[in-house]
């Protein structure tokens, strides 16, 4: 296992290098001169020339990449040209927000998706199954931003229960934090819950038809023990893979959700940075996001060991 682990971790480094190159190269494909958009309404030619020099825009691509990576290795992600804040500061400010949103959304997805999948599989063909399928269909086909605005209209404008948007740190005020995060986390978790439900259901159906489950039943074990202890545990392996893959959805979904609920997280940061051609912010944020994604996938791989003894 240690060998596997070491091999697995060793792949992380080249992946990150590749990712950093990709991020840098892809960004160059963005049309338009970043200095022009950063120069604002006035379009003063001296300002544009100054920005070109400041951002090394006239240097060849590999040189610019070297500037950036050199900084990254020293822990310097650069500085936002738009508002002068260091990118590292922005990342540290926003990362916990998006992580909280993502974790809450994933927790909501798990709490809804997995039990719904189990219930649907166990009660296959019953009203429960249809209900769960209906929910999944709804979750998959409802656009994030629309659901978000509908929830705001209901819970904030009509009922006045929840703040319409914004963010409060949980360390400042936990209640206000939860009130601000519950709607966006639900919106984000909702679609993933649907996917998890569908996969849990099909994995469970497969496992429930397996011989060992029949054996377990024949031994006279209670249905509860059979379903939870014997079936679900095995059915969870593909669900974990899927969960890890859905983390990507989570991170990209966060972009839209944060926009709707005006949550100052990674998503909003990156959208604004792309439109403002704030290159150092885009690069820094995407790099950190990719790193988080890669690490979470690593964690998911490790989680296989926990649930599947055969891999140990």
């Amino acid at each position: 296992m240690l060998e596997y682990l070491a091999r697995r971790i060793a792949t992380v480094v080249p992946t990150l290098v590749l990712v950093s190159m990709l991020i840098f190269a892809l960004q160059q494909l963005l049309p338009g001169d970043p200095a022009k958009i950063l120069a604002g309404e006035e379009q003063d030619p001296t300002v544009i020339a100054y920005l070109h020099q400041k951002l090394h825009l006239d240097e060849p691509l590999p040189v610019r990449y070297a500037y950036w990576v050199g900084g990254v290795l020293r822990g310097d992600l650069g500085e936002s040209v738009r508002n002068q804040q260091p990118v590292r500061e922005l990342v540290l400010q926003k990362l916990p927000v998006t992580l909280e949103l993502g974790l809450m959304a994933f927790a909501i997805a798990l709490v809804i998706g997995v039990p719904a999948g189990v219930v649907a599989a166990v009660g296959r063909g019953t009203a429960w199954d249809h209900l769960a399928n209906l929910f999944a269909l709804w979750g998959l086909s409802t656009p994030n931003f629309w659901l978000g605005i509908m929830l705001i209209l209901l819970f904030s404008v009509q009922l006045g229960w929840l703040p319409a948007s914004g963010y409060v740190s949980p360390f400042d005020d936990l209640g206000a934090n939860l009130a601000a995060m519950i709607m966006p986390a639900f919106v984000l978790g909702n679609a993933i819950a649907a996917v998890l439900m569908r996969h849990t259901r099909s994995a469970m159906l497969q496992v429930l038809a397996a011989d060992y489950v029949r054996t377990a039943r024949a031994k006279g074990l209670s249905e509860r023990t059979v379903v939870i202890k014997h079936a679900l545990r095995n059915a969870l392996t593909p669900v974990i893979t899927l969960g890890a893959l859905e983390l990507g959805t989570l991170l990209s979904g966060a972009v839209l959700t944060e926009q709707v609920f005006t949550i100052p997280g990674f998503g909003k940061l990156i959208i604004d940075a792309v439109f403002n051609r704030d290159y150092s912010v885009v690069q820094g944020v995407v790099l950190v996001t990719a790193t988080v994604y890669i690490l979470l996938n690593l964690l998911a791989d490790l989680a296989y060991f926990a649930v599947n003894p055969r891999l140990r």
């Binding site: 309404e41 006035e42 030619p45 400041k54 400010q93 006045g160 703040p163 009130a179």
Partner: protein
Amino acid sequence: MKLTSRTLWPALLLAASPLFASAQTLRVGLAEDPDVLDPTLARTFVGRVVFSALCDKLFDVDEKLAIVPQLATAYEWSADNKVLTLKLRPGVTFQDGEKFDAAAVKFNIERHKTMQGSNRRGELAPVTGVEVVDPMTVKLNLSAPFSPLLAQLADRAGMMVSPKAAQAAGDKFGTHPVCSGPFKFAERVAQDRIVLERYPQYWNNAAIHFDKIIYTPIPDATVRLANLRSGQLDFIERVAPSDMAKIKSEKKFKTAQITEIGYQGLTLNVGKSDKAKETPLGRDPRVREALELSLDRQGLVQVVMDGEATPGNQWVAPSNSYYARNMPIPKRDVAKAKALLKEAGVPNPSFTLLAATTADAQRLALVVQAMAREAGFDVKIQTTEFATSLNMADKGDFEAYILAWSGRADPDGNLYSFDACKQPLNYAGYCDADTDKLLKQSRELREPAERKKVYEQVAARVLKERPIIYLYHRNWLWAFNPKLTGVRNIPDGLLRVTGLKMGS
């Protein structure tokens, strides 16, 4: 009352939300996150909204766009219009306690002119030097007469920052600005909030009735409005025109509709690149006239802006004192447009209309397409994201481009950079020696009546060549808490905090 979970839950949430923030806090919803908060480097409209509470200027403009005193109490031009003498307001301090005086003005003007990346350099180009006459008097020497200077000093170029703080912070000053406005900088979390706190030693402290202002950028107009409705905000700018009728009919909020000093228009490539010569639209003024005649501005305003704009055909709105009455808004005349196209030998000219992805630009493009079709135009719409469209415009890689301008108080700010030869915003590529002469002359004249005469001549030339077909002037749409009083409708669209008060 028994506290059941049903009553407790919302009660807890309410208590936890900023709904019950102190009544002395003004919470403002902005349509975008401002850029750097350094008046020298700043470049966005939305940043100016925050500056109007943070940084006082030498002058301000009033509801009629007249120049009024702020940090300068009086001014005097020399006989040759090349020296502007300013009398400064005594007893003013910066938010770090430093004194505001003539030396500070000198420092600031020089900073605007010399700092790397300064966006003010162009606005202050004719200023060659600043002389401190005495602690409360300062002279600005100009290379040539430049009447728009007062208006420049009533905007970011006239904003005064603390020399001591600016020297200490260098190019990072924008992360912790220190000015002399009624509110001082407290905190900024990018894309989340900008918090300003009252500066108790402000020179006009009696007119300030809030302790704190929180600016929250909320780009989505629907969500911004939802925040106002749920009581999380007291004031929102740039309400979606389509929401305005409903807000007014509900009577729950006060609203303001102010005709902007900018405009929405179609920039036509008449000489920016070879493309201008390749198309009838760029080549032949008759085709451009036909395009203008095919458009019904009132219809555009109704359909695109839900009526929340004023039709116009010039760089200033018809209500502006500099509007050239000799060139009124042409009425839609499809028959004449068709005749012109026939005369030009192109009864069905086609062109591509470049439009950014914003909802307004998209709607405008569609309506222009439909209206122009009736006169025989075949309009193709090309949609790109704003940064790309700007780049294409700059390269001259377009035939027609939907571009709005946020406007400046002096007409020169809406005109010179767009219509004088080789200016940075002259995307149309219009260049005419006589127009250039007139534009320069308008800058040298001081009397508004005389300038207006020159602008009438400019209008007679430029509006016939049509580098830009001006369409309408949008309304600044604000909605706010009905208890809020003292909101001033100043056409630059910036909320002034002096005199603002929250009633009980």
